[in-house]
Amino acid sequence: MKLYRSLIYRELKLTRKRCILMLILFLLLSLLMLTPIMLGGLSEPYEESPVEMVLLFVGIVSLTGGFMAGTNNGLQKADINSGWKRYSFVLPPTAKQQAISDLFVKLCYILFFGLLSAAFALIYTIAADFNAFGIMLNIYLGAVCAVMLVDIAYSYIVMFANDKNQFKVIGVIAFFGAGFVLRVFGLFPDMNKTEKPTEDGALLSDKQFNRLMSVLTSHQTTLCILAVFVVLCVLFFLVMWRSRERREP
């Protein structure tokens, strides 16, 4: 237990600045979304109904929270640059113990931003008398999963860097590699197709909106996203384990 306390203390302390910065951004955005409610705006006649407004706010806040929670915390990069990665091979914690600590810290951030997103969703729920919690959870976890997937891919690539210079080289290769992949995707005709706006200029027709709502409020969606989230957590753990275990050539 003492060992994990040390490992987690180190990781939290190192990622603290980044977390504070993200928290400030998140709060600013969320407070901006709260402005109409604070000004009593939801009772005013708007183009969209209050429910649609709330859904938009909850969606933006949850997406932002999910993005911030799931994104890479820069720890691997910092460990490579400081030389700690090499030093960690001579320290008693095993690769598995370090990977557990990595996952725990990740889950801490996911829980933290999840609770914050839920708190804002609760405010909207009270203001509009519409339960948006299920939607918030699905959007939040969906965003976390999408960003975590990128993080896992990034962490896997970073694993091959042992020092600052290798990190730079691998970073450049990954950047151009990602660009190449996107370029290849762009060659498929369907990928560039944009949705046609409805007659009244709205992005989604009523039918599409209702379908989206039914997907977002469905318990099956929650279960599916949760299952994906668990799989991604396991994957994240495995990548971190491999990364911590991988010796220098």
Binding site: K2, L3, Y4, R5, S6, L7, Y9, R10, K13, L14, K17, A78, S82, G83, W84, R86, Y87, F89, V90, L91, P92, P93, T94, R247, E248, P249
Partner: protein
């Protein structure tokens, strides 16, 4: 805790890189000894240290630390050893107190009192960020961390390189104190041979990935000498006695092995004692035989 005779046993270790091979190296460090590991830059010191610490995997051979297998018993070994690198591997945002919090959970025998004693002794600030430390302060902090968990084996890779003589002397003095109970051992790689001459009991000399000499420092120094003669007299010296010859405008200086015998053999010549620096220098040029 197991009983062991040698703190480090390296047998036939091989590690191949593009353009460099650590070639079948073997040496032991008896318990309670300070081993100086010398060689020029790129000779294989760091590769050897990384191999024995399992920072890199070896291609062949066997390594035992504190009587334990370096792969099978890796976790057990790492609780009982300490490592000091040439550069501080700690993050700049931490301070000395943070490092204590990090290490106290990692090492079962971490002693905060000992750590704070070293911090006070080195006059290191407790709350100042490491990023604001000088090179000397960083090295002292690394050493304080390494000496605070009762490690039985201390491995140092160029730890004194880049430090001023005062700090180096202070650090060497602390290592001597650390070894006083006879249960601890040190492997210290350096190309500053004067440091090793001061504190090492044993010396291992590596060049181009091969161990050229290993043994007790005093014996190595006693066995070698520099014979001074004119260039025209070089033919009189048996090649088997010669490591290499340094020539200059005034004559030749020959590094000889088996100094006692050689001094009887060539009574007419002066044979000066050789320092570790000289020995290293002449061995590095052994392939050329004659150099200036």
């Amino acid at each position: 805790m197991n009983d062991y005779e040698n703190a480090i046993e390296i047998k036939g270790v091989t590690k191949k890189y593009d353009g460099f091979t650590l070639d079948n190296i073997s040496f032991d460090i008896p318990k309670g000894c300070i081993m100086g590991f010398i060689g020029q830059n790129g000779a294989g010191k760091t590769t050897t240290i990384r191999s024995l610490l399992r920072i890199t995997n070896i291609d062949g051979g066997e390594i035992r630390l504190l009587g334990l297998d370096h792969i099978k018993d890796e976790t057990a070994i790492k609780k009982r050893i300490a490592v000091v690198f040439d550069e501080l591997p700690f993050h700049d945002v931490f301070n000395a107190k943070d490092m204590a919090k990090i290490f106290e959970g990692m090492y079962p025998e971490w002693d905060n009192d000992v750590y704070m004693k070293y911090i006070d002794r080195f006059q290191l600030p407790q709350k100042k960020k490491i990023g604001q430390f000088s090179k000397g302060m960083k090295m002292k902090l690394q050493i304080a961390c390494a000496l605070s968990h009762n490690a039985e084996l201390l491995v140092m890779d160029e730890a004194t390189t880049g430090l001023d003589p005062v700090v180096r002397d202070e650090i060497l003095h602390i290592f001597m104190e650390y070894l006083q109970n006879g249960e601890r051992s040190i492997l210290m790689s350096s190309h500053i041979t004067s440091d090793l001459e001061k504190i090492a009991d044993m010396v291992t000399f590596i060049d181009k990935g091969k161990i050229l000499l290993t043994g007790y420092k005093d014996e190595i120094i006693e066995q070698h000498g520099i014979l001074k003669c004119g260039k025209d007299k070089l033919k009189e010296i048996d090649t088997e006695d010669i490591v290499s010859i340094r020539t200059n405008d005034f004559g030749a200086e020959v590094m000889v092995t088996n100094r006692e015998n050689v001094s009887y053999k060539y009574r007419e010549y002066v044979i000066d004692p050789a320092s570790l620096d000289d020995i290293m220098l002449y061995y590095v040029h052994r392939d050329m035989k004659e150099w200036s």
